[in-house]
């Protein structure tokens, strides 16, 4: 049960990291994250089924599509916002989310689809006496690899450093010759890429226009629990959430499984208003 909790946590972790990446650099709580991943998943489905592309071409194309979509949304919508406030950003991203979801479900209809995937979701492998489905294992693996890559990227690469600089002080970064607008756009691209892996890993299990609601909200909740500005925080929050949720579902009541996550979030926020892993900034008047 803990194992499947960890697997669920991996999906939340991917979504949570995607949201944190955007929030860190631009302070936008991105409600459209799930639907960006949804659009990418359905794009992949279209490539695989209608165009008949093999996997090794379709998946890279999907990743490119995800990056492009993220950059496009930032460039076309978010950058145009005149007087950005948190509420304004929430409304804009919810608007984007509705447009994307509407377009996807208009295009593909409301009925569930099946996504062809190299690994069947029903295979399972025994590791040390515990059965784990190979898709869950893949999810876990992908999440871990992405975490390490992101860590290295933000710590050591020039681009990652530039993004961190943009986050810390916009004006100073600009004065140092960093094209901050371009950095923001790239941030959206990377975040969209991270989110889309979550979408692709969910799609073999369920494939319908509402599939990303739950992972997105849980990922968001996990990110909030971890502090919204720290990647390790989001990952930690996601795994805690996944494990508690599954334990609660197993031992207490399966019906209230999805509620418990939000109750925990509210409790955590009561004690630490800025999440577990971030310093509390006191706003100046």
């Amino acid at each position: 049960m803990i194992v499947s909790g960890i697997a669920a946590g991996s999906t939340y972790a991917l979504m949570g990291m995607a949201m944190v990446i955007i929030y860190k650099t631009s302070e936008v709580p991105n409600f459209a994250q799930g639907e960006m991943a949804l659009a990418t998943s359905f794009f992949t489905l279209m490539l695989l089924e209608q165009r008949g592309l093999p996997y090794h071409l379709a998946f890279p194309a999907a990743f490119l599509f995800a990056i492009g979509l993220g950059c496009l949304l930032e460039f076309a919508v978010l950058r145009r916002a005149k007087e950005p406030s948190v509420l304004g950003f929430i409304v804009i991203t919810i608007g984007l989310e509705m447009i994307l979801m509407g377009l996807v479900s208009w295009k593909f209809g409301a009925d569930p689809k099946t996504m062809p995937f190299p690994i069947s979701p029903y295979d399972s492998i025994a590791i040390g006496g515990v059965f784990i489905s190979s898709l869950e294992l893949l999810t876990l693996f992908v999440a871990l690899v992405l975490m390490i890559i992101l860590f290295i990227f933000f710590r050591f690469s020039k681009l990652g450093m530039a993004m961190k600089a943009t986050q810390q002080n916009h004006t100073a970064a600009r004065l140092m010759g960093i094209r901050t607008n371009r950095m923001l756009m790239l941030t959206w691209g990377i975040s969209s890429l991270v989110g889309c892996t979550a979408g692709l890993l969910i799609s073999p299990i369920t494939m319908q226009p509402y599939m990303m609601w739950d992972p997105m909200l849980k990922g968001f909740a996990a990110a909030v629990m971890g502090g919204m500005t720290s990647l390790p925080g989001a990952v930690f929050g996601a795994y805690i959430l996944g494990i508690i949720e599954n334990l609660f579902g197993g031992y207490v009541s399966i019906e209230f499984k999805s509620v418990i996550a939000f109750i925990i979030i509210v409790l955590v926020l009561c004690i630490r208003p800025s999440g577990l892993f971030s310093r509390h900034y006191v706003k100046k008047v």
């Binding site: 608007g95 479900s105 208009w106 209809g109 968001f220 909740a221 909030v224 509210v266 926020l269």
Partner: protein
């Protein structure tokens, strides 16, 4: 342009004869409406009026106090279920059950306001969102609330007046809506309203000036929840049947969209936004029957999209409205109205 010389000039309801004239015109239009239009439009008007009540309440919280709520469907649900249960199980009369249920919603609003004291921005958004989802989930799983099957509303009787048709209900709903709108407008002009606005503009500064943050923030949540609760109780009688699936996150999002599209921090804006979006909501549900664009959309759907998903066009339309308003007119419909008024005042110069 409008200089206020004393306090009474600021709080008076009708700043000029022109305003009074249009107010009377509006009132008489509302009064005449049920006798001249078809039954369907009465239903539309009821639907709009209920959304207006919620939007006014939410605007007190979001527009005036500057807090974010993505959980108003939860208060709405508490109002709806509370009213029905009080009437069927405890045999309360309607006029007592409605405010009682709304007070329960207000109590929940107060409870949600407590964690909200320390939260802001996305943290507050996720907390309220979680509240809304939790309420829906809990209601759907408990036998008393009818579970997934939902509840039917009992017969609505006030004294010797049987309200059977939409038309009768309109006669009850409209005075209530007007009363609540005026109530909100007056609340904003009192000490309480000024405290709300001070909290929105700078909460620490407000606290230094002697505004009790704990009291006023929770009060804002409670008042807003009260409005949502009243609206929920009335909504149950418009639908005549409620189930947990109605009170979704999408509903909370729509309420927030109404306030933002209409204009933050203005009663007029809340009314305009609620009217526009709820009217559009009803119209877009059967978009293929619309004149002119219906056929074109059907052909488009058959050729490029899918016909089963055509109802999702309404999400696209709402999304575009929300984004365009935020990008080009952050003050919403109210801002557009102000600008037009200013333009024509000096026309043609």
């Amino acid at each position: 342009m409008d200089m206020k010389r004393d306090y009474y000039e600021d709080v008076q309801l009708f700043t000029s004869g022109v305003v009074l004239f249009w107010f009377v015109v509006l009132l008489s239009l509302i009064a005449v409406l049920p006798f001249v239009v078809k039954n369907y439009y009465i239903y539309v008007a009821n639907f709009v009026a209920i959304n207006v009540i919620v939007a006014i309440g939410l605007n007190i919280l979001v527009g005036y106090t500057g807090q974010i709520s993505l959980g108003h469907a939860g208060f709405f649900a508490i109002g709806a279920y509370g009213t029905i249960l009080l009437m069927t199980k405890l045999h309360f009369p309607f006029l007592l059950a409605l405010p009682a249920a709304a007070l329960v919603a207000a109590l929940f609003g107060f409870l949600l306001g407590l964690p909200a004291l320390r939260l802001e921005g996305p943290y507050l958004a996720i907390a309220t969102l979680g509240f809304g989802l939790t309420i829906t989930q809990v209601i759907g799983r408990i036998e008393l609330f009818g579970g997934r099957q939902g509840l039917h509303t009992p017969e609505l009787i006030i004294g010797s007046w049987h309200l059977n048709s939409d038309r009768d209900f309109y006669c009850l709903l409209m005075p209530l809506t007007i009363l609540l709108a005026l109530g909100a407008r007056n609340l904003i002009k009192t000490k309480v309203g000024r405290a709300f606005i001070a909290i929105r503009d700078a909460d620490i500064a407000a606290e230094t000036m002697g505004v009790n943050l704990v009291f006023y923030k929770t009060l804002a949540f409670a008042v807003s929840a009260f409005y949502a609760g009243i609206a929920g109780g009335l909504y149950a009688f418009v639908l005549r049947y409620i189930e947990p699936e109605i009170f979704t996150l999408m509903m909370s999002i729509m309420f927030l969209a109404m306030v933002v599209v209409g204009g933050l921090g203005s009663i007029f804006g809340a009314i305009a936004g609620a009217a526009l979006l709820s009217w559009l909501d009803l119209q877009l549900r059967n978009i293929l029957d619309m004149p002119y664009i219906g056929d074109w959309l059907e052909a488009l759907s058959k050729n490029y999209f899918s016909i089963t998903g055509v109802s999702n066009i309404q999400f696209i339309v709402f999304g575009f409205i929300m984004i365009l308003i935020m990008l080009f007119e952050p003050l919403g419909l109210y801002g557009i109205w102000i600008r037009t008024k200013k333009y024509w005042r000096m026309w043609p110069f």
